[in-house]
């Protein structure tokens, strides 16, 4: 009994201790977005630590070596780690105030981490935002302040079997009506089991769905308020679900089944990013060669696709802010962007890099480059992952026929508003 009383007293004391703290103000993260000063001219000096994930992280060393060759006084330490661990590692680093000087950042995480106040606002005048794809630059902007620079990008196109399309007598779809006819043709005349494969729900379904919402003229947010319950959003949801209702899209896709289905001709088309080019070449082999192509997104009100990728950020607690930003500027120079593409195949965020070489000549890559000019990302907000979960859920409910689009958009709007944008 006495132990219980002691434990209760301890908890109460801790609670009181917490009470003693309290927020300084209701504004954004500690410190607020006070813009830093300009970055000094001249060669970079001193040491910086850079964290990067995935294949880019593994090859970043080569780019860092080029940088230190030009700036002999500087030293860059690169730490590479897998993407799975990245979010937690960055969060832990911020909580423990052990952040690196520069890190790579998933473009949809910007809102969350910028809100912690750990990121240094992009110095004005150091970068020309017009040099980047507009959709990519938008991923760095949180509450009208830019907190980083786009590094590489990806967007989604419609992969399709050209042999089946030729058999069905359908060409690349220009609008929604044609896309439906395209999927129908692939299925009914082309001989595919499914005309097109779209994600029926579950984590990340929003990436598959939001392009259709943008194409219908809908958006997630306007003037700081969610706009998920609009006629345009309902139209988009209705259209997305129509593929499942008409039996043109499979109601479930097992991992890996999409590729094997496409190669065997069971799946006539699917929507995905540039990484699928190499997967199809590898797994499809000679049998699939010349039998597939990519098509741009259909155009209704707009022909928008999704833009993803990664940004580069500098942390506020850096001891070497000038060198950190100079390294970021170097990584986003057209030459370094070209080298990154050569090393790992990541698509450059800088438009100038697309003017020459393979990026300008290869028809498939050119299609991605063209789509990138009309690609969007959801608005950067601290609560995006949670809002995305609500949208995923709404999509799944409509696709499965549990609710109608009108009810689903109303619920999505109510839930998202309850969560808020975190600002």
């Amino acid at each position: 009994m006495r132990h219980w009383r002691q434990a209760t007293a301890l908890v109460a004391a801790l609670a009181l201790g917490v009470t003693g703290c309290g927020r300084d103000d209701g504004g954004p993260g500690p410190g607020g977005p006070a813009a830093g000063g300009a970055v000094a001219e001249g060669k970079a000096t001193g040491e910086i630590t850079v964290w990067a994930m995935g294949a880019e992280g593994e090859k970043l060393k080569a780019l860092a070596d080029d940088f230190t060759r030009d700036n002999p006084g500087a030293k860059v330490t690169v730490t590479a780690f897998p993407f799975d661990a990245a979010h937690d590692k960055l969060a832990t680093a911020i909580a423990g105030r052990q952040t690196p000087d520069v890190s790579m950042m998933g473009s949809t995480w910007m809102g969350e981490f910028a809100k912690t106040g750990a990121l240094d606002p992009t110095p004005p005048g150091l970068f020309d935002r017009a040099a980047f794809f507009p959709g990519a630059w938008d991923t760095t902007v949180v509450d009208d302040t830019s907190y980083g620079v786009p590094w590489y990008v990806e967007t989604r196109l419609i992969y399709h079997r050209t042999d089946l399309a030729a058999k069905a007598g359908v060409g690349k779809p220009a609008n929604w009506q044609e896309l439906t006819a395209f999927a129908k043709g692939l299925k009914q005349t082309g001989g595919a089991k499914w005309g097109i494969s779209l994600q029926p729900g579950g984590t990340g379904a929003w990436q598959s769905f939001l392009p259709f919402a943008w194409q219908a003229g809908a958006d997630v947010l306007a003037d700081g308020k969610f706009t998920l319950d609009t006629p345009q959003m309902r139209t988009a949801l209705e259209y997305y679900a129509s593929f499942f209702r008409q039996g043109l899209a499979p109601g479930q896709v097992a991992p890996g089944a999409q590729e094997s289905g496409f190669i065997s001709g069971d799946i006539g088309a699917f929507v995905s990013g540039p990484w699928h080019m190499s997967i199809l070449r590898e797994q499809g082999g000679a049998a699939l060669e010349g039998k597939w192509d990519v098509a741009p997104m259909p155009r209704e009100q707009a022909g928008t696709s999704f833009i993803g990728g990664a940004d580069l950020v500098v942390y506020r607690d850096t001891d070497n802010r000038d060198t950190a930003w100079k390294f970021v500027r170097y990584l986003t120079s057209p030459a370094a962007q070209q080298k990154l593409y050569d090393l790992v195949g990541s698509l450059p965020a800088v438009t100038a890099t697309w003017q020459s070489g393979k990026l300008a000549d290869d028809p498939l890559l050119k299609a991605f480059g063209a789509q990138l000019a009309d690609a969007k990302s959801p608005p950067a907000m601290a609560t995006w992952e949670q809002v995305a979960d609500v949208i995923d859920d709404g999509i799944e409910r409509v696709v499965r026929g549990v609710t109608d689009p009108a009810t689903a958009t109303r619920e999505m709007q109510a839930k998202a508003s309850a969560i808020g944008t975190g600002s």
């Binding site: 801790l14 917490v18 500690p30 479930q252 992952e385 975190g422």
Partner: protein, 330 residues
Amino acid sequence: MASALARQAAPTGGARPGRRDAGWPGRRGVTGRRPGRRGVTRRQRVAGWGLALPFLLIFAVFMAGPVLASAAMSFTDLRSADLRDPLAVDPVGVDNYVRLLGDETLRRAAANTAWFVLLGVPLTMVLGLAAAVALDAGISRFRTFFRVGYYLPVVTSIVAVAVVWRFLLEPDSGLVNTALARLGVDGPAWLSDTRTALPSLVVMAAWRNMGFLMVVFLAGLQAIPGELHEAAAIDGCGAWARFRHVTLPLLRPTLLFGGVVTGIGYLQFFEEPFVMTGGGPLDSTLSVAFYIYQQFGFGNYSYAAAIAYVLFVAVVGLTAAQFRLMRSKT
């Protein structure tokens, strides 16, 4: 036992026999020391605490500290945006606990978890007991082989298990539905149908965990004296009556242990939906532990901590209930 006897034998008052005499003055009132201290000298006490200190420090820093910190956290509005200044948060009292009462998704997760425990614990125990009885009585050859075989899923990585089970449950080409098709039954899309997803996970969890219970029950069975079975057999009891009236009552403490351990594990079930379904379809396999994980992922740290404490209370409650239900009737 020994101390109870000693106490009985001790004469009222006077020095206590049988005690270690180190430092014990034996004469009450002379040194004025309280007898409750049992004659431990100051030096011994210092040495004792000194020896216990490393453990106490580790316990305080790595176990009690985080537990108390998360308890305190559940009374604040800590979110991911506060990462850099975790102490600069506002206390919100029991707001998080009030909010979770009205959380529809949490209610769904709680119902799923309850079903998982209600279906999973008896199923796992019955399977474990059946395997143990078969190994104890029937199968004498290859006993080690079967023991290893049944125990293997327990030590296999859940990720590997998930891959295999997903293949088995694949609706078009999976083994389960292929076998059902032979019998003329059109099997459902097990993991993507809201009605069959949770039962599928229950079966998988039972398959995965029965090996552990089998080993425990086997040990319990082997501790039951063979004479009791013989005596019952002479009295004319059949195999079922012997199992019902000899094995089960004597196995009660072992069954209680199995039930408690499995219940605690299943109330916190997380890995199965995490690797198999992601909580879907339509939240039909979302568990409370998985929901806590999601809320942590969304950066709602204080809310997640509050749910974690509610889950903790549920675990304690279930365990207490099992002890009450299964305690020996003496």
